[in-house]
Assembly symmetry: C2
Homo-oligomer: 184 residues x 2
C-alpha cells in the first residue's frame, strides 16, 4: 500500500470499471477504494474528471501490455502456442472487459484493438501455411484455420471469465483438442 495516491486511484478505477462498467462506478467509490475520504473531492487533486481517470487507466494498461508482450515466435508445438495465447488473454483481461463493456465509448479504442490483436489473439496464418507446405499438418484454408482457432480461444476465455458458468471441457482438453483438429 506504499504506492502513491494517484496509482491507487488508477488501480481502483481499472478494477471497478472493468468489473462493473464506467457509468456504474462513482468518483466517491474511487476515493474510497484509494483510501481517501469518500465524498471528499480529493480525487480531483489527481484527475480532472472520471473520463480523465478512465483515459489514464486505459493508457497505463496499454503501455503495460505492450511492455510485457513476449514475441513467442512459432518455435514450440501448437498446443503450447494456444496455451500461451490463453495466458496472454488472461493478462489482457481488464482491457478486454472494458472493450466488451464500453465498446466505442472508450478512449483509444484502436490502440486497445491493436494490443489485443498483436499481443493476445494472434494465431499466425503464415505459420500454418508453412506447416501445411511442409506436410506437417493437412492442407486447409490457412486463414480460415487461424481465425477459427483464434475465435475458439477468445470465445473460451470470454465464456470462462465473463459468463461464469461451466463452458464444457477445461483448458487442457480444449487446447489439446484444438491442436489435434489443426494437426490431423
Amino acid at each position: 500500500m506504499g504506492r502513491d495516491t494517484r496509482t491507487r486511484i488508477l488501480d481502483t478505477a481499472l478494477a471497478l470499471f472493468a468489473a462493473r462498467g464506467v457509468e456504474a462506478v462513482t468518483v466517491t467509490e474511487l476515493e474510497e477504494g484509494a483510501g481517501l475520504s469518500p465524498g471528499s473531492g480529493s480525487f480531483y487533486r489527481h484527475f480532472a474528471s472520471k473520463q480523465d481517470v478512465l483515459a489514464a487507466a486505459v493508457a497505463r494498461e496499454i503501455d503495460r501490455a505492450e511492455a510485457r508482450r513476449v514475441p513467442t515466435a512459432g518455435t514450440s508445438d501448437l498446443g503450447s502456442e494456444y496455451r500461451a495465447t490463453l495466458d496472454a488473454l488472461d493478462d489482457l483481461r481488464p482491457l478486454l472487459a472494458l472493450l466488451v463493456r464500453e465498446g466505442g465509448r472508450l478512449p483509444e479504442v484502436e490502440r486497445i484493438r491493436g494490443v489485443l490483436a498483436e499481443g493476445g489473439a494472434r494465431i499466425d496464418a503464415a505459420r500454418l501455411r508453412d506447416l501445411m507446405e511442409a506436410g506437417t499438418i493437412p492442407e486447409r484454408d490457412a486463414e480460415g484455420v487461424a481465425t477459427a482457432v483464434m475465435m475458439a480461444l477468445v470465445g473460451f476465455h470470454l465464456a470462462e471469465r465473463f459468463f461464469g458458468g461451466p463452458v464444457g471441457v477445461d483448458r487442457d482438453r480444449l487446447v489439446a483438442t484444438l491442436a489435434s483438429m489443426v494437426g490431423t
Copy 2:
C-alpha cells in the same frame, strides 16, 4: 407503430440497454424512444422502475427466444449446423449483449444462460460421438471438439458484433473451415 405504449417502451429498453448498458440509459430516454414526452413521468404508468422494465424486457426476450427455438435435429451436414448456430446467436444478440455488459446484475441470469446454451450455442457432443463411431469423422475427444466448435462460433459472433473490426475470414469460410477441421 400501432403497438401499445408498454410494448414500445419494452422495445426501446431492450435496444438501448443492450447497446449502451442499463446504467447509461435514462428513463427520460425510454420515454422519448416510446414517443412519450421526455421528462414526463409517463413511463411510470407502465413500469414501477427502471429495474422493473429491465426485468420485463429480459423476460419477454427469453420467452420469445424459447418460442422461436427450432429443434434443428442433427439431420443436415456439419457446415449447415454451424451456420444455423451462428444465425441463432444473431437472434439472441440482445440477450447476449445484456449478459456481456451487465453480467450477474441481470435478473434471471440463469434462465438467460439456459436459453443461450440450449437454443443457440449447443453443439452436441453425443452427435459427434455417433459420427466418430460410424467412422464418418476421425476419433477425437468429442466433448473437446464440441466445446472448441461452440467457442469458435460464439467468439466469432462476439468479435463480429461487438468488437466491430474485421475478424479474419467471413462466415462462409469460417463455417466451412470448422466443418473441415471436425470432419477430416
